[in-house]
């Protein structure tokens, strides 16, 4: 424990240099911008900027990109409260009470509450990372290929078990990711797979292209369909409102704490920020004294989802750093960045690249404090950006996405693929196929496959290796429980209906 605090202090020394603080501020400003704009978000914003960081030092690069992520998490709330348009999927729940508050002229109050609770959620998650991550990493050093495959299996099963979408669609999305990851040269045997004689397919599909297409162009197409018109309340925020709201907030400590726990749980097991925010909102409504007034502009209804979303978004980095398994699409993109900068995420990172890890963790503290101050002071500016007509913003975002897709490998073919992924994203989103499992499978595909094949090599093709010792079998058992969870809960519902007992609401 003490050693970790010492490491953290060293991390602060790494993070607080002029250059890194500058990158931090750039990251946050860009992050809020992409959080506010439709079609650009945490995942594809980081994906687009990733190629620009290839020449930077990994520590500066990850500080800038992770701050971009915090910024995007903050930014989503602005559009929800002022315009009733969630800038990010995880701020949908914030619109329920945030927008009514805005309409009652309490936009400043709502935004202060949103930003502050975002900050609290993030801080809780960073503290968790600071003290838990080294332990997890030390524990994971004992892992062999079967354990790693089991953990990855658990990751994917938890998508099926905890997702809001139909299990079959989650599985399809995941398997498409795995199939796309397999395209190209097989690194183990040197065989070409699914290239069908096309030289463009030799290198396979890069998940960055998929992220930019699915979340970028796909989102723009959806926004076009909805016929976007920004009609919103004015965003005004001053010191008096901020202080008044801060004095009010401690009353909701229980809601906050619950939201923090839900968020961290959903972030570490890859449920993600979006389900975390909904779950937290639902819980707050059930437990609050004013539960029946939720939806009419309750400050608690803003605190609950925002805290949980930030806690989930931040804690998603915990499994990414310690196990090499990202807890969210954005964490997946950051993981891809680590690989490109030549760092192997996983338990060894904590031993071989101490500076990097602790610099990043220290920057999480600083980035969130800076983020809170920046968003509180710049709200009117972001609100003004949203008044730019969509007919200007839309083509500019597509141009930026295309450039982002091209710079990943300097390939024209990737721009074409981005458009294809954009169309797929549009259809999948509308048919309620979840996109996150596809992205994660695309990132983890090679790793999962290698772990699986190595395990099979060790055991000579016997699947029982995944139940060979206590650790691996308990992970696998947990995974299988999660995989079958939808069946169990549906079965229970049916049984209740038949036995005539009333189902609890």
């Amino acid at each position: 424990m003490l050693e970790d605090i010492g490491n953290l202090m060293q991390g602060f020394a790494v993070a607080i240099t002029w250059k890194n603080v500058l990158f931090m501020l750039i990251g946050i400003l860009l992050g809020v911008l992409i959080g506010v704009l439709p079609g650009l978000g945490g995942a594809n914003g980081v994906a687009i900027l990733l190629p620009l960081t290839f020449t930077m030092s990994p520590t500066s690069a990850i500080i800038m990109l992770s701050c971009l992520y915090w910024g995007a998490l903050f930014g989503g709330a602005i559009t929800s409260i002022l315009f009733n348009i969630p800038g990010e999927p995880w701020s949908v729940a914030t619109t329920f009470d945030g927008f009514p508050m805005g309409q009652q002229g309490r936009a400043g109050e709502a935004m202060t509450a949103a930003f502050t609770s975002s900050f609290v959620g993030a801080l809780f998650a960073v503290l968790l990372i600071t003290f838990l991550a080294p332990l997890v990493a030390r524990f994971a050093l004992k892992f062999g290929p079967p354990e790693f495959f089991a953990i990855q299996f658990l990751t994917f099963c938890s998508f099926v078990g905890m997702g809001r979408e139909s299990p079959a669609k989650t599985i399809v999305s995941m398997m498409i990711g795995f199939a796309l990851a397999a395209v190209g040269l097989d690194t183990v045997t040197g065989t070409l797979r699914m290239t069908f004689g096309q030289t463009e397919l030799l290198q396979g599909f890069d998940f960055l292209i998929a992220v930019i297409g699915l979340f970028g162009l796909g989102e723009i197409l959806l926004t076009m369909e909805e016929g976007l018109a920004f009609k919103g309340t004015r965003g005004k925020i001053d010191a008096k409102v901020v202080l008044k709201t801060w004095a009010l907030l401690p009353k909701f400590w229980m809601t906050s704490l619950r939201a923090c726990v839900i968020g961290c749980w959903m972030g570490v097991t890859p449920g993600g920020a979006t389900p975390a925010s909904f779950m937290s909102y639902g819980m707050a409504r059930r437990f609050s004294k004013n539960g029946d007034k939720f939806g009419t502009g309750q400050i608690e209804g803003v605190v609950a989802p925002e805290t949980a979303a930030h806690a989930a978004g931040t804690s998603a980095l915990l499994p990414m750093l310690t196990l090499g398994i990202p807890g969210s699409p954005t964490a997946a993109v950051l993981l891809g960045g680590l690989l490109i900068w030549g760092l192997q995420p996983g338990p060894l990172l904590f031993i071989e690249h101490k500076d990097f890890v602790w610099g990043l963790i220290a920057s999480m503290y600083l980035g969130n404090i800076a983020g809170l101050l920046i968003v509180l002071t710049t709200v009117p500016f972001w609100a003004a950006i949203l008044r730019i007509p969509f007919a200007i913003i839309a083509p500019v975002i597509v141009v930026i996405c295309s450039i982002g897709a091209y710079t990943v490998h300097n390939r024209f073919f990737d721009i074409v693929m981005m458009v294809v992924f954009g169309v797929v994203g549009y259809f999948f989103k509308k048919l309620k196929y979840p996109l996150a499992p596809m992205v994660l499978a695309l990132v983890l595909g090679d790793m999962a496959e290698t772990a699986f094949r190595q395990s099979m090599l060790v055991s000579g093709g016997n699947v029982s290796i995944f139940f060979s010792n206590g650790l691996v079998s308990s992970i696998m058992a947990l995974a299988l429980v999660l995989l079958c969870w939808p069946l169990v809960s549906r079965g229970r519902e049916r049984w209740r209906e038949r036995s005539g007992k009333p189902t609890p609401a």
Binding site: A168, M175, E225, A391, V416, L431
Partner: protein, 169 residues
């Protein structure tokens, strides 16, 4: 598609889109399986062959795709009148998608900067009905700013065409 359920000609109904997508997934799964069989799914003397893992992936895709398609057909009647996107919604989507495809083709011909200028200008005039001056300012300004950012500042080369070559890049 009867008038009673409110589905008009040109509307996409959810059940058909769902079915077609599910069948495409089955088809994709079948392609994965076939290719895995080609590279070998069995066990070589040094371990599993390249198709070993993708074969499972393909099988799961086919099964899950058939499951979704089957469920969709099972509740086919119930889905009557559910619309994936009606004509008025599809129009703006196509108004975005078609120019974007043209834009990508154009990038291959004249490079990304000129293509971006044309794309933004066309979109602003056609969709936004902006006046010529503002359109020109933005459609030229954005690519120039991007050019400075990428080619000059970050030294990242983007696809260029005859116009940039003429200017000596």
């Amino acid at each position: 598609m009867d008038a009673k359920s409110g589905v008009r000609r040109g509307d996409l109904t959810t059940r058909w889109v769902e079915l077609v997508v599910a069948l495409l997934i089955v088809l994709g799964g079948a392609v994965v399986i076939l290719d895995s069989l080609r590279v070998g799914i069995s066990w070589a003397e040094d371990g599993p062959r390249a198709g070993y893992f993708p074969f499972f992936v393909g099988c799961i895709l086919v099964v899950a795709g058939l499951w979704i398609a089957g469920r969709n057909v099972a509740v086919w009647r119930k889905l009557d009148g559910k619309i994936f996107a009606n004509r008025d919604e599809l129009k703006p989507v196509l108004a975005m998608l078609l120019p974007t495809i043209a834009y990508v083709v154009l990038i291959g011909v004249v490079g990304i900067y000129v293509a971006s200028a044309i794309y933004i200008a066309a979109f602003m005039l056609w969709q936004g009905k902006f006046n010529l001056l503002l359109t020109l300012a933005i459609s030229v300004g954005v690519p120039v700013a991007l050019f400075l950012l990428f080619e000059v500042w970050f030294l990242v080369a983007l696809p260029k065409g005859p116009v940039e070559h003429m200017l000596g890049y």
